[in-house]
């Protein structure tokens, strides 16, 4: 009797794990932290510093000094926003069966466009930054859309195209930004206040963090992703294209349009990330000296989030947390690479999702065997 109970509980746990990608992801994250803890111990440091840094990012509590400062939570969100959006850039495309390594380039053109409008746009409150954000969305969409078009029209590999477009974006951004009058080799003139995303309200509730209207834009983006992908005709068409192009075509869906649309929307997400960083975290335009790396991190974010809206948002928060915790860890003498090692480990361990499934399948088979014999 008790034996039977035990096995049924185990079955249920296993069942939950096969059903729920979310739970597996949580397990994977825990595993990543465990390995990181061991690494920290190996180099003779105190893993407590790692965890206290994380606690400080998530709750604002500095356990060492016993001080609470909500600003850290605000900064965590600030760090997460571009990661979530670049994650969406990858995720949206991958739901349509495309592999978008181009979020970095799309982010850069979005950032550049936003900077342009920030400098040149009409200095009308709200209108100004809204225009800048729209410009970023458009620029990102064009940058992604070009790849989608090349793929649809010439069946050019989007992997190659996006890799090349990333570099082209970087150097083009440098060149065009430097054309703005008053720009020196690393920055444009300071933006007018109307161009900034800063929200006095959000700043005040987070004790002066840089949390800005980007938060609302990100939330809108999350809803947009979730709604469009899951609840609309467009999403249906894109998912169908992603899962079976031939059947989608047969069903009357224009696969070429889907591909171009998906890449454009992907690009728009990354472009938005660019705008939020440009107008939310800086008060001047940057002449980029290199890639910020959000686009590449976005790939990992999307993979950890399983390319769903909620999952990617959560994964973005996780990576944002690690990014914010990294300086705190370093100041607690934890090797600064630990944060990126954890990110890597989490992504590697995500493949355990499949492993767990194999184990569960095997278990279910055993169960069926027993059931079969009983009959």
């Amino acid at each position: 009797m008790s034996d039977k109970n035990r096995s049924s509980i185990r079955d249920r746990i296993l069942e939950v794990f096969t059903r729920s990608d979310a739970l597996v992801s949580v397990a994977v994250v825990i595993l990543g932290f465990l390995v990181a803890t061991i690494l920290v111990l190996v180099v003779g440091r105190n893993p407590g510093g790692m965890y206290s840094a994380i606690v400080q990012v998530i709750t604002g509590w500095d356990l060492r000094r016993g001080v609470w400062n909500i600003r850290y939570i605000g900064e965590w969100l600030v760090a997460s926003m571009p990661l979530i959006l670049c994650g969406f850039s990858m995720a949206f495309a991958s739901r349509t069966g495309l592999f978008n390594i181009g979020a970095e380039g799309q982010y850069i053109v979005g950032l550049t466009a936003a900077q342009f409008v920030a400098v040149y746009g009409p200095q009308i409150p709200y209108v100004h930054w809204i225009l800048a954000v729209l410009a970023a969305l458009a620029a990102g969409a064009v940058w992604g859309g070009i790849v989608g078009y090349l793929k649809a029209r010439f069946s050019m590999s989007e992997v190659v195209a996006t890799i090349m477009m990333n570099y082209i974006a970087l150097y083009a951004s440098r060149y065009f930004t430097m054309q703005i009058p008053g720009t020196n080799t690393y920055r444009t003139p300071t933006f007018p206040d109307t161009a900034k995303l800063s929200s006095p309200f959000l700043e005040s509730i987070t004790n002066g963090s840089r949390l800005n209207y980007g938060l609302y834009l990100t939330i809108i983006a999350i809803l947009f992703f979730w709604l469009v992908m899951g609840k609309t005709r467009l999403g249906y068409s894109l998912r169908a294209t992603g899962l079976n192009k031939d059947a989608a075509k047969y069903g009357g869906i224009s696969v070429n349009t889907s591909i171009t649309t998906a890449m454009a929307i992907s690009g728009a997400f990354a472009g938005l990330a660019g705008a939020i960083v440009a107008l939310g975290s800086f008060n001047y335009g940057r002449v980029l000296a290199g890639q910020d790396g959000y686009g590449f991190d976005g790939i990992a974010v999307a993979l950890v989030g399983n390319s769903t809206a909620g999952g990617t948002a959560l994964a973005g928060l996780l990576f944002g947390m690690l990014k914010s915790a990294q300086p705190l860890m370093q100041s607690r003498q934890i090797p600064k690479e630990i944060a990126s090692i954890i990110m890597g480990l989490v992504v590697v361990f995500i493949s355990l999702r499949a492993g767990i499934r194999i184990v569960v399948e095997w278990q279910m088979k055993e169960k069926a065997k027993k059931g079969g014999n009983a009959e």
Binding site: R64, A79, N184, T185, Y186, G208, D292, Q326, S331
Partner: protein, 347 residues
């Protein structure tokens, strides 16, 4: 952490160094700042006893982390927060303004004027002038007939321009007919391009290449080592720290003829002492040759005593003001004989 000690009344001065993504192991600028801190506390590179209690360092992975990192350090009440490089300028203006009681220091910037910000500038053009002179004298000593000199920069800008124009003036002061070539990699981390360019120039008779290009500069050194091993008489010139070691291609010989030393450590030590003595104020300190803030390396024995003596003479003339060196491209271009087609940019 250092903050709590100072908060709880320790008498030790506490400091947090904030760097950009390259971190303190860049063998150059950030490393020098860190060295200053170590020196101040009597620690060494491999023995950092007080790290974590009196001083520490935080690296920003991306530029948008500058403000949060500054704010974090501010929260933790260090006696001094040091930031390296002009890319920190705007973030620091923002934070310093909001935290008037916190002391900050910034290197390479002279336009963040707040009472709680100490700014440290270096006369890189003076040091660069000296390495230019040294290289040209060496070429002359080697009997180079058609002397050509190269400069490889990372990304063009005001600071790097001081290196370039100082160096060019130095070379031309010795060899007025020398030909100058320059190249900007547009990347601080692409040694391959720098190496290809160095090879190209060395092949076309360039005698020495001075690179102020961060990690890209390693390409120049690599190429110089290779050619010197093959018996070609070409040189690389190091930057920021003494890159003699990097240039060693066997146990004793280095392909780095000399290095322009930018003693950021002098700046950090100055700031720390000011904090210790309670004399810290929002001042602009310019560390030039006279203040021993910049200099050149004589580690390479290929730089003969005669040459060193000559360079020392020039150095004295600069200190005494006999030699004036233009620090901007615009000023330099107005000098007679100064090449007009360089890619340096002021701003």
């Amino acid at each position: 952490g250092g903050g709590q000690q100072s908060g709880s009344g320790g008498d030790q001065v506490t400091v947090r160094l904030l760097t950009d993504a390259t971190g303190i192991d860049d063998k150059s600028f950030n490393a020098a700042a860190w060295r200053g801190i170590l020196e101040f506390y009597g620690d060494t590179w491999n023995n950092t006893k007080l790290r974590g209690s009196a001083y520490d360092v935080v690296t920003a992975q991306t530029q948008d982390m500058y403000i949060p990192n500054l704010m974090q350090a501010t929260d933790e009440h260090y006696d001094l927060i040091i930031t390296t490089g002009f890319t920190f300028a705007d973030a620091l203006s923002d934070v310093a303004q909001r935290n008037p009681n916190q002391n900050y220091m910034i290197i390479d910037v002279d336009w963040v004027n707040f009472p709680n910000v100490m700014q440290v500038m270096f006369a890189e053009h003076e040091g660069s002038y000296l390495v230019g002179v040294a290289a040209a004298l060496k070429a002359k000593a080697d009997g180079i007939t058609n002397p050509r000199f190269g400069f490889i920069g990372g990304i063009a800008g005001q600071t790097i321009t001081k290196f370039e124009v100082g160096y060019v003036q130095g070379v031309l002061s010795v060899l007025p007919n020398a030909q100058i070539v320059d190249y900007y990699v547009n990347d601080w981390g692409n040694p391959a391009d720098a190496k290809a360019q160095a090879k190209n120039w060395y092949d076309s008779g360039v005698y020495a290449i001075y690179s102020a290009a961060g990690g890209s500069g390693n390409g120049t050194i690599a190429q110089a080592k290779e050619y010197r091993t093959q018996g070609r008489n070409v040189w690389a010139i190091g930057v920021d720290s003494d890159q003699f070691e990097e240039g060693l291609y066997n146990a004793t010989d280095s392909a780095v003829l000399t290095s322009m030393l930018k003693r950021v450590e002098t700046g950090t030590i100055y700031g720390l002492n000011a904090c210790k003595n309670g004399t810290f104020k929002g001042e602009l300190i310019t560390l030039d040759l006279a203040a021993d803030g910049v200099g050149y390396s004589t580690a390479n024995k290929a730089l003969s005593k005669a040459i060193v003596d000559e360079v020392e003479k020039v150095k004295q003339q600069i200190i005494s003001g006999q030699i004036k060196i233009a620090a901007t491209h615009a000023d330099a271009k107005r000098l007679p004989g100064f090449p007009q087609n360089l890619k340096a940019m002021d701003n």
